[in-house]
């Protein structure tokens, strides 16, 4: 079985982003970019399935500018076998990403597609579900545990109030939540090896998918700041202020 892992290049999770003064967007000039953290978990899970003998090949795919190859290269350094970059400029929304991925799935015929549950830049949490819809496949979102069985896959999901386990027929879509695993670091020898692994570049345009955004971003703003608070000297003072000043007790 082949596993396809879509990976997204995003602003590194440690970066404090800045909204441009004219409200036209977020300043991305000279900002450190990394693989979306949930996608790292997705790559790790695919590698573990391959190492356990349940999968034969792990293919990483990214959609974005030419630099998205760095993110695919990171997946290759972690252990993925080969990569695909679909080059597209500008903002490609989850719906369009899902349509492009559907085309890649048709070419590659994976038994599983494992994605991160959400990207930490647009925070949409949609792509996996949309891809499942377009393929007519079942979906196991927000996964914290996967167990492959003969006839399908059991997915334990993080839901409000606890966990839910579902059984899905294969092929299926999985989206990774935090506790699915702890991703490995790429070792230096593996980073060197990854430079020789193949990456296939294609223009996203060749798939005939309309990439025009459906949502127009009219404005980008900083959230209103909370007024500065007060340091208190004692627990007694805290209780007093909560009662009298804040009125929340």
């Amino acid at each position: 079985m082949k596993i396809l892992v879509p990976v997204k290049r995003v602003v590194d999770y440690n970066v404090n982003i800045r909204v441009k003064a004219d409200g036209s967007g977020v300043d991305l000039a000279n900002v450190k970019m990394s693989m979306n953290p949930f996608d790292e978990i997705a790559v790790e899970e695919a590698l573990r399935l391959r190492e356990a003998g349940a999968a034969s090949e792990v293919v990483a795919v990214s959609i974005g500018p030419k630099e998205a190859q760095e993110t695919v290269r990171t997946a290759l350094a972690m252990g993925a076998d080969r990569g695909i970059v679909l080059e597209a400029e500008g903002n490609v929304e989850p719906l369009a990403v899902a349509k492009l991925l559907k085309a890649i799935v048709a070419e590659e015929a994976p038994g599983l597609v494992i994605l991160g549950k959400q990207a930490i830049d647009d925070d949409s949490n949609q792509t996996g579900q949309m891809l499942a819809a377009l393929l007519g496949w079942p979906q196991g979102t927000f996964a914290s545990k996967l167990v492959l069985a003969d006839s399908g896959i059991e997915v334990t999901r993080e839901v409000d109030g606890g966990l839910q386990t579902v059984r899905l027929a294969l092929p299926a879509i999985i989206t990774a939540d935090l506790r699915l695993n702890e991703p490995r670091y790429a070792s230096l020898p593996n980073i060197m090896k990854a430079k020789k692994k193949p990456i296939d570049f294609r223009p996203a345009a060749q798939y005939g998918v309309d990439l025009t955004p459906r949502l127009t971003v009219l404005k980008t703003a900083e959230p209103p700041a909370r007024p500065a608070g007060r340091r208190l000297a004692s627990v007694a003072e805290l209780v007093d202020r909560l009662k009298t000043e804040a009125g929340v007790l």
């Binding site: 377009l134 079942p138 606890g162 966990l163 579902v166 804040a246």
Partner: protein
């Protein structure tokens, strides 16, 4: 221009999240239908008839809908969609799972986690863990929307003649997904996303035992729900469904007590809508103090028990 609101419920009654999402629906338009999907929903459907602005309640009942699986639930939404200009649901795990599936089947780009309605086709939503608020306008003929409930007040049930309730055809089981089991924490506590008070712990608690030993008594005293930072969840001190932040839950209680939480960007994303924030941390430079109304710098192992006692 009718709006369909998807209800979060437990069969017997509506969840608070539904009353909050209703507030967003009312801002879009005042003719609203509510869909109550599940298996055994009479109680919740009766309540839904008393929601403000609701002229019709649709029920869909089938074993396949009992556990909120995305495949049948999305198919149901798709079947109903042509009659509506907007379909809204609270950002619960059920609808975060199912609604994007319906959106793709309708060839619509979902608008996730809205925090404000600016016009029937224009919304505000957070990106980058809440560090950038974007205003987006949808060009789609039907707008599918999930609502960040922490950003909207609940619209209470009205004392009025209830709207009519009618059943719609429930989808059949597609045979590609099946419910196996669930494991819900049965703690006798308010739900995290609707609690009036939340006590949250971070990695500085040091262990699962200490997390519980210090925070449970304080939460009991305050009648609070318990939350945790991602670091505390990663360290195994708290289960993931307690996680507050960009990748966990967004909360907006009257009082949020952050214990041993440094205040990483992604945590602040989930709690800065709280009315009053209290931070207890030994590091006086911790970013949590920049958003806290009241801060206590010191050893949480001393401060928390003292606070619990002082509240007695």
């Amino acid at each position: 221009m009718t709006t369909l609101l998807l209800a979060a419920h437990d069969g017997a009654s509506l969840k608070d999240a539904t009353l909050k999402a209703l507030t967003a629906a009312l801002a879009i338009g005042d003719d609203i239908h509510v869909l109550v999907a599940g298996d055994g929903v009479a109680g919740a459907a009766a309540e839904a008839g008393r929601l403000k602005g609701v002229s019709r309640v649709l029920t869909a009942e089938a074993p396949a809908l009992a556990h909120g699986l995305a495949e049948p639930l999305a198919a149901l939404v798709v079947a109903l969609a042509p009659a509506y200009a907007a379909i809204l649901a609270p950002s619960t795990s059920t609808f975060k799972n199912a609604l994007p599936r319906a959106a793709a089947l309708l060839d619509v780009m979902q608008i996730s986690d809205i925090t404000a309605v600016l016009a029937p086709d224009t919304f505000e939503r957070p990106t980058y863990a809440g560090n950038a608020l974007i205003t987006v306008r949808s060009a789609d003929p039907i707008r599918l929307i999930t609502v960040r409930t922490a950003s909207f007040r609940a619209t209470p049930l009205e004392d009025r003649a209830p709207a009519p309730v009618g059943a719609v055809t429930a989808p059949t089981d597609f045979g590609i997904s099946a419910f196996v089991s669930d494991a819900f924490s049965t703690a006798d506590r308010p739900e995290l996303t609707s609690a009036r008070v939340v006590v949250s712990g971070g990695r500085a608690l040091g262990s699962e035992e200490q997390f519980k030993a210090l925070l449970l008594p304080l939460a009991d005293r305050l009648g609070a729900a318990i939350g945790a930072s991602r670091a505390a969840v990663d360290a195994g001190y708290a289960p993931n469904d307690w996680q507050v932040g960009q990748t966990g839950k967004a909360v907006s209680p009257d009082l949020y007590v952050a214990v041993g939480i440094s205040g990483a960007i992604q945590h602040l994303a989930g709690m800065k809508d709280a009315k009053v924030i209290v931070a207890i941390n030994k590091d006086a430079e911790a970013p949590i103090f920049q958003v806290a109304d009241y801060g206590l710098v010191g050893d949480l192992n001393e401060i928390v028990p003292e606070l619990t006692k002082a509240l007695g």
